[in-house]
């Protein structure tokens, strides 16, 4: 057993850390305050290979593994939650389905430019009436005959979609019929941003992650060619369950990065801030908070890395990914909350950044399956019972 990262993973971590400190950190505050999508920053990531870390080079990616990807997301989240979410949604949810189910033509046309970072990707699953119950999709796609296999006419809408309005390619799910047993048959489609009948509705004003875009997708007689169906007809639901398994690793990594940022800030502050004639870190009340943060973060990181490792080994990782995401996001919530507490009143003001980590971390308990949904997934696997 070897707990050391490989030299390549170490170099990757150091490279992203240097890059983030020098090129990203100085602009974070401005974008967050203005709630502006960081197009300039995202454009720097592509040439470095950060927009397609775990995909092979012939698909436009950097040819690294899931562990490298988790490290990359953690390091980005350590300086900027919004950027980590943008990259995670693009990579896991935008590129992921194309890598998993795309045919050669679809990969060349859509995945390569995305993984190279020239086109941003997004994934539209959630709807206003279908959140945790993502199978409850009401958006429909109706087949119409014609040359080249005809077209699909999509109607409906999506909500809470990361990178909405910024993406050039959207992967969306829609009902394409009824299953023999009754339930909805769901398929996935590749949608170009300029497609007629497609528009982006309102963008959400969020609690945190202010520089990331979260918005509504609207389909009104939106027509896509048959060649843009992704994967087999009716396989959309199975595919997105798989995609979410992988996505959970990146949300877990994002949670670890935000928690680590809170810890780093708290360690520095607790050593420097003096009250009652000594650094506040010398009070057990404060030191124990920091000790708990450090301990839980370490555990969370190991769980995320292990889930990534299992995936890289080609083994079943869905339980490990759900556990890692659940634990890391709840650790992140506690650690960022304690980060504010360690800073006292200064933690509550924006200048010290820890309040941003807290606001950003909350999303990790909600996106890609809430903590309750993770517990259902885990409970079902552990108990082998149909938990509701």
């Amino acid at each position: 057993m070897d707990f050391d990262l490989s030299p390549e993973h170490e170099l990757l971590r150091q490279t992203i850390r240097d890059f983030a400190a020098r090129e990203i950190e100085p602009v974070v505050e401005e974008y967050e305050r203005e709630r502006r999508f960081p197009t300039d920053v995202v454009q720097m990531l592509g040439p470095m290979g950060l927009m397609g870390v775990p995909y092979p080079e012939d698909e436009g990616g950097a040819g690294l593994d899931t562990l490298a990807y988790a490290i990359a997301i953690e390091e980005l989240a350590r300086v900027w939650g919004s950027l980590a979410l943008i990259v995670a949604a693009h990579t896991s949810l935008g590129c992921g389905p194309l890598h998993l189910a795309g045919d050669d033509a679809q990969k060349q046309r859509y995945l390569v430019p995305m993984a190279q970072g020239r086109v941003i990707g997004a994934y539209g699953l959630t709807e206003s009436g279908a959140g945790s119950d993502s199978g409850g999709t009401q958006t429909t796609a109706r087949h119409e005959g014609g040359p080249d296999g005809g077209t699909w006419l999509i109607n409906g809408g999506k909500r809470f979609i990361t990178n909405a309005g910024q993406a050039g390619t959207y992967i969306v799910t829609a009902r394409t019929g009824e299953r023999p047993g009754g339930g909805a048959e769901i398929s996935a489609f590749i949608l170009e941003a300029e497609t007629r009948g497609f528009s982006v509705g309102r963008l959400e004003e969020k609690m945190g992650l202010h520089a990331s875009a979260t918005g509504e997708l609207i389909f009104q007689d939106c027509r896509v060619p048959a060649a843009n169906m992704l994967g087999e007809h009716g396989e959309g639901f199975r595919m997105f369950l798989k995609i979410l398994d992988g996505g959970r690793i990146s949300i877990g990594a994002m949670a670890v990065g935000l928690a680590q940022a809170a810890l780093d800030a708290s360690v520095g502050y607790a050593r420097e801030r003096r009250q009652f004639g000594q650094p506040i870190g010398m009070f057990q009340g404060v030191a124990f908070m920091v000790a708990d943060m450090a301990t839980e973060i370490e555990a969370a990181r190991q769980m995320v890395w292990r889930a990534a490792w299992l995936k890289d080994q080609g083994r079943d990782y869905s339980l490990a990914a759900a556990q890692a995401k659940l634990f890391a996001s709840e650790v992140s919530q506690r650690a960022t909350n304690n980060g504010v507490q360690v800073h006292g009143g200064y933690g509550y003001v924006e200048e010290y950044k820890v309040e941003r980590f807290l606001r950003d971390a909350k999303l990790t308990e909600i996106g890609e399956g809430t903590s309750q949904i993770q517990r259902i997934v885990i409970g079902r696997k552990v108990l082998d019972l149909k938990i509701v």
């Binding site: 030299p7 390549e8 170490e10 170099l11 990757l12 150091q14 490279t15 240097d18 890059f19 040439p47 470095m48 290979g49 950060l50 870390v53 080079e57 950097a62 040819g63 690294l64 490298a68 990359a72």
Partner: protein
């Protein structure tokens, strides 16, 4: 054209410590010397524009591998690592002898090196090495332009009023500055490609050195004592709006007749 870039592995800036016998402690994490990275960047740009082949050369402990790995990930084609336990404690003269011996086994038109290292800071190696090898020495380059056929090299050297242009036939040794431009970040693909690039490790025996010729016992210089610099006193920090701040800085300089 073949360029050898001398790349020293130094303790991570800010973590430098001396051992009890007043040598730089190299047991911790090492990184590529910042001043050398500007030259590596200049060499890599030449690799891109004119197909130059870049080889890294370092003398250092096992931990120097990480600095080489980064250089290879940035785009160097290969690396040579001179490593031998006996070398520890060598001084500037011995370093120059070792580098000269290593370069004697390599083929090149240009040798690039940074002005100094962030740990030792001696700054004697570039000039001494050029003299030792009998190479033209072009120092403090802010721009490096080899002739298309590689037979000569021309550099710009900043001076207080502008710049000098120096030109020499190759092989030549160029020492450069940060004006050459910021080093690139390794790309993720570069990190993966570095895995399959060749790193040769040479020992003293490979270079034809007797162990007794190097190391602390044979060094001609020794550090006699070391002291921390005194803490810097009372800096004035100005936190006003830019206009008001500029005004104050101008006044500060003016009262000291620095403007």
């Amino acid at each position: 054209m073949r360029i050898v870039v001398l790349l020293k592995a130094v303790p991570v800036v800010g973590t430098e410590r001396l051992t009890s016998d007043l040598r730089t402690d190299r047991s911790g994490t090492l990184e590529a010397n910042g001043a050398d990275e500007y030259l590596l960047e200049a060499a890599l740009k030449l690799a891109e524009t004119s197909g130059a082949e870049v080889t890294l050369l370092t003398i250092g402990p096992a931990g120097a591998t990480e600095a080489l790995r980064k250089g290879l990930a940035m785009g160097a084609a290969s690396a040579v690592h001179v490593a031998d336990d006996q070398i520890s404690g060598s001084d500037g003269t011995q370093t120059v002898e070792l580098l000269a011996a290593a370069l004697g086994r390599l083929e090149y038109e240009l040798v690039f090196c940074g002005a100094d290292s962030s740990d030792g800071g001696g700054g004697v190696v570039p000039a001494a090495l050029a003299v030792r090898l009998g190479l033209p020495y072009l120092s403090y380059a802010s721009q490096i332009e080899p002739a298309p056929d590689g037979s000569s090299v021309r550099i710009r050297r900043l001076n207080p009023t502008g710049y000098d242009v120096l030109e020499a036939p190759t092989p030549a040794l160029v020492m450069g500055t940060q004006v050459l431009g910021e080093p690139r970040y390794p790309s993720l693909r570069g990190i993966m490609q570095a895995r399959s690039k060749q790193v040769q490790t040479w020992t003293l025996a490979d270079l034809g050195f007797e162990p007794s010729a190097v190391g602390a016992a044979a060094a001609r210089t020794a550090v006699v004592s070391a002291e921390r610099p005194p803490e810097r006193g009372g800096a004035t920090v100005i936190r006003d709006e830019p206009d008001a701040a500029v005004q104050q800085i101008v006044e500060f300089l003016a009262t000291r007749r620095l403007l």
